[in-house]
Symmetry: C2
Subunit: 77 residues, 2 copies
């Protein structure tokens, strides 16, 4: 059965306080060299063979993401 992954992230021009909080925590872990972090949502769909990309795009735009501030990618894995 095909698995489809949808990743939703806030648009680059929108502030991401969750990602910034992770970025600020890294030096305390002794980690250096990370320049930016963005946090988003990850979805895995198990679908029938006849579920197409257009359907997944509609699910993403209507159910998973807020199109005003977020963007997403859909890919078959």
């Amino acid at each position: 059965m095909p698995r489809v992954v949808v990743d939703v992230v806030v648009k680059p021009e929108i502030l991401d306080p969750q990602g910034q909080a992770i970025l600020r925590a890294l030096p305390r872990l002794g980690v250096h060299g990370v320049r930016d972090v963005r946090q988003g949502k990850h979805f895995e769909f198990d679908v029938d063979d006849d579920v197409d990309a257009e359907t997944l795009q509609r699910i993403a735009g209507e159910l998973l993401a807020n199109p005003v501030i977020e963007e997403w990618t859909v890919h078959w894995r």
Copy 2:
């Protein structure tokens, strides 16, 4: 600058009420043929060239995920 993606999902044996809520909402959108949905977290890291996979694994296990109930993947994009 390399970009590294970390995806965190609940382990298969752990209930995922967020994914189940999405699954139940799909017929109302007129979508059929989706058999399962899992929701997780998605992280994008912009890192220097010398940041290695071991470091990202440590960040995931100590900062991004709860290893008791979640598992993760790390991949360079």
